[in-house]
Amino acid sequence: MTAITIERAARVFGTVRAVDDVSIAVRNGEFFTLLGPSGCGKTTLLRMVAGFCELDTGRILFGEQRIDTLPPHKRNTGMVFQNYAVFPNLTVGGNVAYGLRARSVPSQETRERVTHALKLVQLEGFAERWPHQLSGGQLQRVAIARAIVIEPHVLLLDEPLSNLDAKLRVEMRGEIRRLQKLLGITVLYVTHDQEEALAISDRIAVMRTGRVEQIATPRDIYERPVTPFVASFVGTTNLLDGVVRAREGDVGEVAVAGTTLRLAGVRGNAGDKVVLSLRPEALRLLAPGEAAPARCVTLSGTLNEVEYLGPVTRFGVMLADGTALQLMGLMPPAASGAVAVAFDPQRVVVLGPPA
């Protein structure tokens, strides 16, 4: 168990900068997630830590020890692959014991540790089974047991849940988190599923085109995104283009969607363009004649879209100046046609100028 330090790692494939000057410091015992769309470099970065992808520049350390110069089989990382990669020619027990045998652990101890690891992943008594007799979820557990039994410096998981069905996925991610806390192990986790990342992580690095956009806790990633990409990739949001009218310290006036808002967190000077992020659930559709709650700003527009999603309903509202807004609400609206939308300006996040 150790901290992982990635310093200015870079790798170019042909003309593509797969990993572009990435620096990340994962703390000891932390559950750290690399989140991003496919092709953002998250898997490449994970494979760099495992040793299956070489760095063009930069370095990687486990604690104080530099490891990117070591061959992969000497790095003592436990990796869980997307397709499990359970050896079909070995039993479940043989799979879990594989890494211990490579380390010449005495057979008595090997047996004990295999039994213990299988117990941890709730596969007690499965040691004699063959992989082809197991379900996808069980194979996943074997892969995890095999990775943790060697007591790796870090546990690397490459989209481990993407081949499971939705229900099992939720169950397994809870279990991975439980194991990680139980063992106090450092985890580097790769996923493209933002909900999964929010649910499971201590911290998240959101990546795009080989670069890190933001590193923060799940809550900050969602509530305090620093770039339009992070705001729109994690959850859904309304991104509105605005112009700074005036600024005093942190507080400024921004013209947006035919109105002017007084917002905190504004940077730049008068005339600068900014992007505002407004989550759909922060917007409220007012019933006809209903007064806006205190501190709230009201905008008027036309309701042009209603999608009933079960627990919530999604509305599309077109504002007078042509801006389209998405709203999330609990109840189907009583109104149609001309409506009013209210929101608390404090829930508006001011992002930098449009990319």
């Binding site: 495992a50 040793g51 299956f52 110069t69 061959p71 992969p72 089989h73 000497k74 790095r75 003592n76 990382t77 436990g78 990796m79 692959f81 997307q82 397709n83 990669a85 050896f87 079909p88 020619n89 594989y98 890494g99 490579a102 380390r103 082809h132 892969a143 095999r146 060697i150």
Partner: protein, 551 residues
């Protein structure tokens, strides 16, 4: 640099060995052939006279057109027979498919000239069937010549069409056909406009293999061509008969054969270039429900084809147990042919078994690691090695044999007349097969299995031994056995390279054919058939069991 070498030590070693082997025993002999074709009789001066002499000679020009015409006809006929067969097998609800497929693949491992010889025994001038037909007054035309050769090729090479095309028919995604029908195409129209075009690349690929095999085959035309010139046979005859220091004429014929193959390859590539359909079937198209009559028709057709292809082999086995006096066959049972075959020595049989075993070991030892590295470590170097390692397939056995004699009769490495030169030639000829089959198996093994092993602390070379080889084992054993049996029935390079003590079964049969001991030839053919069927039958079971234990 040290880190690079350390990390790439395994692939680099494999490439070094493969390059050295192919360079010395494949490229160097071919270079010798090319050199001889452009040098004068003394072997010292450049000249194009050899080409002019050969190409202005009616006899050899006929040989060229005969060879090309026969190879092209064989490709077309196998396609005409094989595509409907594959369609029935892949898409019609007929019974006994596993047996049909196994029987259809069988001619691939059986020596084709045995089939040719069986045809002579049955339909030749004094053949059993010919005599019978003539005795009841039906005149029967001779089966000698191009017609007979094409028939034999069709019956022995059609698996080259059936196997890939069956797979292609099965790999068409159901949704593509459903889309065609949904858009209003009738079933016949769908087959014509969607299904058939999608399997066309496989048909072309198979037809090319047939063309190359037919072009380079030595035994079949030797048995059936009589005095009509065929390039691969004439190259051999010229080489054996040539008295000057420089075997120029044989070399020119060899170069012509190679050029023909290369042109065929280029034509096929051109035809395929604009037809890269990777449908990646998630669910293969279902069997087509047809009327019982059509189903019956399909069944009958498949069994007839399989029977027609295998009857000659059965006939040879039966005939080999009948008494002969000279070339004349009598009814009855006798093992006289076998006693006659083995009365001088068992050496041909033991030679065949030994040489085939050694060649299969050698081809596997070089081919499997090469195939592994080509598949797993993609680079420009591996692409180049891939091309060189698979090109021996396109070089006629006689030509390679001639080249090896020229390269290793003098100089630093003298091998002519030894068993080693035969084994080396076999290894070169079968290397494409080992490399390709290793690659094919590897494509089914997820690379993350190897990465998982390395990640758990096992170094790459050891991972190859502990994870990759066990997973490949079924395929490796299968490849080994197929190499063994195809070497056992190899004639074209053997005939050039063998020397007295290293006579093989194929040569023994060849010699018996040249003489008048038809019975001995039949006995030799039977022994060859047993040598090839038995190992295949053994691994067929082993492979199935292996498959079952794997999944």
């Amino acid at each position: 640099m040290r880190a690079f070498l350390g990390r790439n030590a395994f692939p680099m070693t494999v490439f070094a060995i493969a390059s050295a082997f192919l360079g010395l025993f494949f490229l160097w002999p071919l270079l010798k052939v090319f050199g001889a074709s452009i040098l004068d009789a003394s072997g010292n001066h450049f000249t194009l006279a050899n080409y002019i002499t050969i190409l202005s000679n009616r006899f050899f020009l006929n040989g060229l057109t005969n060879s090309l015409g026969i190879a092209a006809s064989a490709a077309i006929c196998t396609a005409l027979v094989g595509v409907p067969f594959a369609f029935c097998l892949a898409r019609l609800p007929i019974g006994g498919k596993a047996v049909l497929l196994a029987l259809a693949a069988l001619p691939l491992v059986l020596p084709s000239f045995v089939s040719a010889y069986a045809l002579v025994l049955m339909f030749g001038r004094s053949g059993i069937v010919t005599d019978m037909l003539q005795s009841i007054g039906i005149p029967f035309e001779s089966i000698y010549g191009a017609k007979g050769i094409v028939v034999v090729y069709t019956l022995t090479l059609y698996p080259y069409i059936v196997l890939p095309v069956t797979a292609a028919f099965k790999s068409i995604d159901v949704s593509v056909e459903e889309a065609a029908q949904n858009l209003g195409a009738s079933r016949a129209r769908m087959l014509r406009t969607v299904t058939l075009p999608l399997v066309l690349p496989s048909i072309l690929a198979g037809a090319l293999l047939v063309f190359i095999e037919a072009l380079e085959n030595f035994g079949v035309p030797f048995v059936l061509a009589e005095d009509r010139p065929i390039l691969s046979v004439e190259a051999y005859k010229l080489f054996v008969g040539e008295t000057t220091d420089n075997p120029a004429s044989a070399s020119v014929l060899g170069m012509l054969l190679i050029v023909c193959t290369v042109i065929a390859l280029l034509v096929q590539r051109g035809l395929l270039a604009r037809r890269n359909f990777a449908t990646g079937a998630r669910r293969s198209a279902p069997l087509i429900g047809v009327s019982p009559a059509l189903r019956w028709l399909g069944s009958v057709y498949c069994w007839l084809v399989v029977a027609a292809a295998l009857v000659p082999f059965v006939a040879v086995v039966v005939i080999s147990f009948m008494p002969f006096s000279g070339p004349v066959l009598h009814t009855g049972f006798s093992v006289g042919n076998f006693t006659q075959l083995f009365e001088r020595s068992y050496r041909p049989l033991t030679n065949t078994l030994m040489l085939a075993t050694l060649a299969a070991c050698g081809a596997t030892l070089i081919g499997v690691p090469t195939g592994y590295v080509i598949t797993r470590h993609r680079s420009r170097l591996s692409a180049l090695i891939d091309i060189v390692a698979t090109s021996p397939f396109a070089v006629a056995g006689t030509v390679l044999g001639i080249g090896m004699v020229m390269a290793f009769s003098s100089g630093f490495l003298i091998l002519t007349g030894t068993w080693l030169i035969m084994v080396l030639a076999y290894m070169v000829r079968k290397l494409p097969f080992s490399v390709r089959s290793a690659g094919a198996i590897l494509h089914q093994i997820d690379p993350s299995l190897e990465e998982a092993s390395i990640n758990l602390g096992v170094p790459p070379a050891l991972t190859f031994a502990r994870i990759t080889v066990p997973l490949m084992l079924g395929g490796i054993v299968g490849g080994f056995v197929l190499t063994f049996v195809t070497v056992a029935s190899e004639l074209s390079s053997t005939i050039v390279l063998y020397s007295g003590p290293w006579t093989t079964m194929t040569v023994a049969m060849f010699q018996a054919l040249e003489g008048t001991s038809a019975g001995v030839a039949a006995a030799a053919a039977t022994v060859l058939i047993i040598c090839t069927i038995l190992p295949v039958a053994l691994v067929y079971r082993l492979l199935r069991r292996h498959e079952l234990s794997m999944l």
